[in-house]
């Protein structure tokens, strides 16, 4: 008796989920349709702008030949590696700066100066130092995305209320237990903001470093497609970068929601 009921409610909740996805994607869909219409009607004289359908076709071609996955794997690998190194360095240094006002007094002017340097400017230096290898992308990524992670962590640690420090002392927690059980979890919100911003930067920096430095991955594929006058492929690669960016962001958000239960989020 209950099975038609269940399948009905299942179908209802599925259609509701689909509707929600449709709602969120509506901006993208409208833009794609408008783009297709502009191309079809020849409204703009843009020989180098392919229609979405051309791009989709190129995307499928590249994906089925396996080239796309190879390039994407290289870029994602470099992104994750650089981001991971920046995460470890940024969290450790950021925590030290957050805890010690002496360290902060000495280091924060340097941090404020270094983080204004454009990371791409490190490409020529990195070329000489590490040559044409994935290490070049990693150097550039770390140089760029260590800063938001470091600053997020420092702010997170500094933002811990005096009451939390009192609590640790009143409960007679040791130094290590205090850092592990109170300081780091309390700072995790700030750390996670830094990690998210850092992840977005890392992908962009990987692609850029590949375009002007190490000739590999999606960045170099974009250059190749442009030079060989294949705008459909060029856009297919750009779309790939977008998809990867969204996926990496979703992954970091999922990680942060697992690690930090949100007091203000209620179902």
């Amino acid at each position: 008796m209950s099975s038609p009921d269940q399948s009905l409610s299942l179908r209802l909740s599925m259609s509701r989920a689909l509707a929600r996805i449709g709602l969120r994607a509506s901006g993208v869909i409208v833009a794609l349709v408008a783009w297709q219409v502009v191309c079809e009607l020849g409204l703009a004289n843009l020989d180098l702008v392919p229609s979405p359908i051309d791009v989709a076709r190129a995307f499928v071609d590249l994906a089925s030949s396996g080239v796309l996955f190879e390039d994407a794997a290289h870029t994602v690998g470099a992104t994750l590696m650089g981001w991971g190194i920046a995460a470890v360095a940024g969290v450790v240094v950021g925590a030290v700066l957050g805890v010690s006002h002496v360290a902060r007094a000495y280091a924060s002017p340097a941090v404020d100066l270094f983080r204004t340097f454009p990371p791409i400017a490190f490409v020529p230096v990195a070329l000489v130092a590490v040559g044409l290898s994935v290490r070049l992308e990693i150097v550039v990524i770390v140089a760029g995305c260590v800063w938001p992670i470091l600053i997020g962590t420092t702010d997170g640690v500094r933002g811990i209320s005096a009451e939390k420090h009192d609590l640790a002392r009143v409960l007679r927690l040791g130094r290590l237990a205090r850092i592990r059980k109170i300081v780091l979890p309390a700072a995790l919100g700030g750390v996670m903001v830094g990690l998210r911003v850092g992840m977005g930067l890392a992908l962009v920096l990987a692609v850029t470093a590949e375009m002007i430095g190490n000739p590999s991955g999606i960045g170099y594929a974009i250059v190749r497609a442009g030079e060989s006058l294949h705008p459909d492929r060029l856009y297919a690669y750009i779309v790939t970068v977008g998809i990867l960016g969204v996926a990496l962001n979703v992954a970091v958000v999922a990680l942060s929601e697992r690690l930090v239960p949100q007091p203000r989020r209620r179902q």
Binding site: K164, R169, V170, L171, L173, I182
Partner: protein, 288 residues
């Protein structure tokens, strides 16, 4: 259960040593305690001046005073969070340097005293971790939560609980860690009157069952009388002990009858008089 065993051994030891039952042992001794804060313009700001009192094991001692008088400062001294500028604060005969073993401070602001990323059960377990086996911790957490009637909320996050329930979690955390002394800083001040009455009764109940010593801070005179064996009035600028009132109100106490007893009303009259004297002398002091 656990606690009654501890109390018994203490009693035994005390009677063997010939110093009488343990509940008359002095827990805290404060002698001529003064606290001077430095303001941001580096001026000296004396908050407490020559505060002297003893607290015996098993009693409920309450300090009443207007806000800003230095009540929180006094509890921070007792819990070792700050040191006196002069005078001495001793716990069981030793000067307090850090929070003594067996002393737990219950904060007024329950929201920041509980860790939002830990469940209720794991909040209660926090002071026990690394000090005993997982099974022992589990047993104590369950026991403490059921003492404050929160057994069903173990796996919930504290921010999903009402204020009164969160305050009960703090009390459970103290009970689980075998606290012998609870220092409570206006613990029920931001809780509605009906829930507050329930929490007061819970505290009296726990205290009767476990023989806890409680040093309690409030600005509510009725609450002070209802809970306490002795009440001190803290007033003046800088604050000093103005009045000590022994509360002869019989136990067990009840919210309605106790508050109508002549002993209760008498204590109430004396405490109000002491606090009123402070206001009028303050007014006189400020007159040009």
């Amino acid at each position: 259960m656990l606690r009654s065993v501890t109390t018994m051994t203490q009693d035994d030891r005390a009677s063997q040593d010939g110093i009488g039952p343990a509940r008359h042992a002095t827990v805290y001794e404060c002698r001529e305690v003064s606290v001077v804060y430095r303001t941001h313009r580096d001026e000296a700001h004396t908050v407490l001046d020559g505060v002297t009192f003893d607290c015996q094991s098993g009693e409920v001692l309450t300090f009443v005073g207007p806000s800003g008088v230095g009540k929180t400062t006094l509890l921070r001294l007792l819990s070792g969070l700050i040191k006196p500028t002069s005078g001495s604060v001793c716990f069981e005969g030793e000067p307090v340097r850090r929070t003594p073993q067996g002393v737990v401070l219950v904060f007024q602001d329950y929201a920041s005293a509980l860790l939002s990323w830990r469940t209720v059960g794991r909040n209660v377990a926090l002071p026990l971790e690394g000090r005993m086996s997982k099974r022992e911790i589990d047993k104590r957490v369950d026991d403490a939560l059921s003492q404050v009637n929160l057994g069903d909320w173990k796996n919930e996050y504290p921010w999903r609980l009402s204020g009164g329930m969160q305050q009960r979690v703090q009390i459970a955390r103290a009970l689980a860690s075998d606290a012998q002394v609870l220092l409570m800083d206006e613990p029920f001040a931001s809780i509605d009157a009906i829930t507050r009455a329930k929490l007061q009764d819970l505290l009296l109940e726990v205290r009767r069952r476990t023989g806890l010593t409680v040093i309690y801070i409030t600005h509510d005179i009725d609450e002070a009388i209802y809970l306490s064996d002795r009440v001190f009035v803290l007033s003046g600028r800088p604050a000093s002990m103005q009045e000590e009132v022994e509360i002869d109100v019989p136990t067990p106490r009840s919210q309605v009858e106790t508050r109508e007893l002549p002993e209760f009303l008498d204590a109430r009259r004396r405490l109000h008089a002491a606090l009123r004297a402070e206001y009028s002398s303050e007014g006189a002091g400020q007159a040009p």
